[in-house]
Symmetry: C2
Subunit: 191 residues, 2 copies
């Protein structure tokens, strides 16, 4: 059994928490009011907006050493909604890995709307979580948790593929914001 610490009590944090517990694994949710509560999960999910990451790192980076840290952010420039705020040849996940050299950073969940993680479905298709990362064991640990929930994990490739995953997340947000797909739907992955 794995223990997952989720930083952030918003919609995505709650949906990922449900996914973890549905599969029989254990969750600890830490919100701002739990600032002094220790991180105990071997996997830490940063279920917070991109703009809030540095603040969490300032308080907790030391605690993340030796753990798997999952970045779920879509670093969209919400002023223009026309680009990402990370450099074109990088990604939020790559930046996070650079700031956490003693952690194994994964990119995941950023291509899933919260409602599809709650329902386990995108339309008639099973919700698929795309996971990118450089450490195969770390990816497998998260994939096992996703698969145990009845949803499906796929290996998106090395952490460098976070750039593509963030592009997918951004394009999905563009389609939803223009009312062309619903916030309960979006991109499905069909095997």
């Amino acid at each position: 059994m794995s223990k997952v610490t989720i930083i952030g009590g918003g919609k995505m944090g709650k949906a990922i928490s449900n996914l973890v517990t549905t599969g029989g694994n254990t969750v600890e949710i830490l919100t701002r009011s739990d600032a002094v509560t220790a991180v105990t999960g071997e996997i830490v999910v940063l279920a917070i907006p991109f703009g809030a990451v540095d603040d969490v790192l300032a308080r907790r980076a030391d605690e993340f050493a030796g753990r798997i840290v999952v970045d779920i952010t879509n670093p969209v420039d919400f002023d223009t909604f026309d680009s990402l705020v990370v450099p074109a040849d990088s990604s939020a996940a790559a930046e996070l890995q650079a700031k956490l050299p003693q952690s194994k950073v994964l990119k995941a969940f950023n291509t899933n709307f919260a409602a599809t993680l709650e329902s386990g479905k995108v339309g008639d298709a099973t919700t698929t979580v795309l996971i990118a990362g450089d450490d195969q064991d770390a990816k497998q640990s998260l994939a096992d948790i996703v698969d145990a929930s009845g949803m499906k994990a796929l290996d998106a490739g090395p952490l460098k593929r976070a750039r593509e995953l963030e592009a997918i997340g951004f394009q999905q947000l563009v389609l939803a914001a223009s009312n062309q797909v619903g916030w309960t739907a979006g991109f499905a992955v069909i095997a």
Copy 2:
């Protein structure tokens, strides 16, 4: 009724040709052996690999002036399969538009495997064609052709979004090449 000229007689060219004629529109397919045949469609689909585009432009760029030109390429570095060959802050479509200032360039079909354009389905979902471009009328002309076929077109945004569409196409190729999705499946778009 629209007339579409398709440059390229490969799998994608044939699939897009079927899509166009299924919707009651007209197709002209030009392959290498038709080098002297004139382009007559108001929409031109470059159904060729990224590496073949410059050769076609050298012979036909003048003919493309005043027409809608559709870029379907995924400019993947097939030696490493680990990046695109276009600059990170650009796209194959943006480069094509720069070379064809008198054409209206659209990005489309690069997120669709040929088999899903032949069948009209990705799993149980209707095949969706994501179209990016800066000219709304041009996008609508192509969207009308897609919708007439029974498949579905969505507006992915300005041509700048070709960068995201090429990332989606690349990631889908990565998943297929690693046998995690089939070449008859991949990303579906659920409204």
